[in-house]
Amino acid sequence: MTRTDLRFVLWNGLYGIAYAMFNVLFFASFGVLNTLAWVIASALGIGVWIASSTLRTLAQRRHWFDHGGFQLTLRLLAMVLSGATFTSLLVASLVSLAALYGVVDSGPAPNLGQQFGYWANIVIILGMWTALWAGRRSFHLRQMALLRAKSDRSALELDALRARLNAHFVFNALNNLRALINEDTERAREMVTRLSNTLRHALDYGAGDTVTLAEELAVVDDYLAIESVHYEERLRVRRDIADDMLRARLPPMLLQLMVENGIKHGIARTPAGGELSISAHRHGERLCIEITNPGQLPEDTAHRGVGLAYVRGRIADTWPGAQFTLEAIADGVMARLEIPQ
């Protein structure tokens, strides 16, 4: 039993007692507060208490609140109607029982109209109570769902940030820096600057931004300079950039991500290393970027991972008409990105 359950048991008990007391007062105000009145008032109190406890237990057990809205209202209404019917029957049977044992004089039986009046009265009282707590509960659940959605989104953003920061790269760079400080101070100082540039750029860009190819290539240069310190002669870079494309626009970090993947899946996994080539040229009205690395495409497509899906997702969201492909070539893999200008 949770704390909310306990709280409900308490309030629901008070509700039953309050309803019974209301009826006692009602009878008293008409000056007919006899044994029969006490029996009727108690039966009403107990009846609505049982009806409303059952109602809530059912709603909880069968997860009615998951459906929400119309379905929930319909079910609660049906339960209120049958709860009121149950309460009326309980009152009637207790009164007859008391009369049978001669405790009370039941007097003339109420006619059908009166009976409906009593029943409708209970429906209203039980309905109001149900609406009150069910409303509170729905509101509470909606708040919870909102909070959960918010925390899910934060977790996703954190994952994305982690991917942007590329921890493996950063810590390797810092480790290399420690050695480089002893070996070549000037170069170490330059690497600190380049690493700062890379980190700042990874943190700064926004989802809707665009950059020029020249700007993006500057980032890639910083990144590759740091990776050259790590891989040394294993990483050989070839650039072939058409001058007239330097002002072409593209989403930030896509080219960078393609280069990172070329290193991660190509250079890092090839013992002798190899050539990473970056080319950009015009293809009709499109900017066409090709990155090749000496790696191999995994045989099973399920392993073509997160990075690929991320790139496709990014261009689909921000750049209609853009295309990304990955294919095996003579001795390596080529990633190709086409962006309409």
Partner: protein, 242 residues
């Protein structure tokens, strides 16, 4: 006591940095280094160091691939830049690993643990005919999972064709070595060949019952039952009489 140490890392600067850090410890002698799995295996096998500083990710495989191919288990301190997942494969208490850039105090702690264990060691990798003692470790691997296991934790070893199943801590791992090469490296005071297929740790025997013929039936502490052939029964009597 000097600790003969070997460095494995695919990056020259990382090896150099590790060398610089180790130079602060007078008893650590770096005997060599390697930049990839095959080179690491062959050089370690030739130099037989006491300790290996082992990078987890390399171009042609992992640090576990290096250990898997060795004929003995050196002490190992793993190093990694950022690899939350690789180490999960490793289920052992004795594992030491350092993240790069390495904090000198952490390295010092890891090295003192190595020195402690070096004191208790019977096995000396530098001697070609060395045998393994109860506190010495072997490296076991079964698919994705890896362990360093002390001989004292092994209950028995069952051979099946070219591979041997090592039973320890209620688990089992396959070794791709024949029983005779294995037997040659185990201290004969610790293990007993119960039959053609099985080596049993003497300290793991709980009960000995007579079996049909002149053989015995051994019940081990983990509940396994091993038959002792008639030929070996006599030897067992002699061993236990000692």
């Amino acid at each position: 006591m000097s600790v003969r140490t070997f460095i494995v890392d695919d990056t020259r600067l990382a090896r150099q940095e590790m060398g610089t850090l180790l130079a602060a410890h007078a008893d650590i002698h770096v005997v060599g280094e390697a930049d990839d799995v095959p080179a690491a295996r062959s050089t370690i096998e030739a130099l037989r160091p006491d300790l290996v500083m082992l990078d987890i990710q390399m171009p042609s495989g992992t640090g576990f691939d290096v250990l898997d191919g060795l004929s003995y288990a050196p002490f190992v301190i793993f190093t990694t830049a950022y690899d939350q997942f690789a180490l999960k494969a490793f289920e052992l208490n004795a594992l030491d690993y350092l993240v790069k850039p390495v904090v000198p105090e952490r390295l010092a702690n890891a090295l003192s643990r190595v020195r402690e264990r070096l004191e208790k060691r019977v096995f000396d990798p530098a001697k070609p005919t060395a045998v393994l003692g109860a506190n010495d470790h072997v490296f076991l691997r079964d698919g994705e999972r890896c362990w360093f296991v002390a001989l004292a934790e092994i209950s028995h070893i069952v051979v099946d064709g070219n591979s041997a199943a090592v039973h320890f801590r209620n688990q089992k791992a396959m070794l791709t070595r024949s029983l005779s090469t294995l037997e040659a490296r185990l201290d004969p005071a610790l293990f007993f060949r119960a039959n053609r297929k099985t080596l049993v740790s003497l300290s793991m025997i709980k009960a000995i019952d007579l079996a049909v013929g002149d053989g015995y039936e051994l019940t081990l502490k983990n509940g396994s039952i091993v038959e002792v052939s008639r030929r070996q029964a006599r030897e067992l009597r002699e061993r236990l009489a000692l």
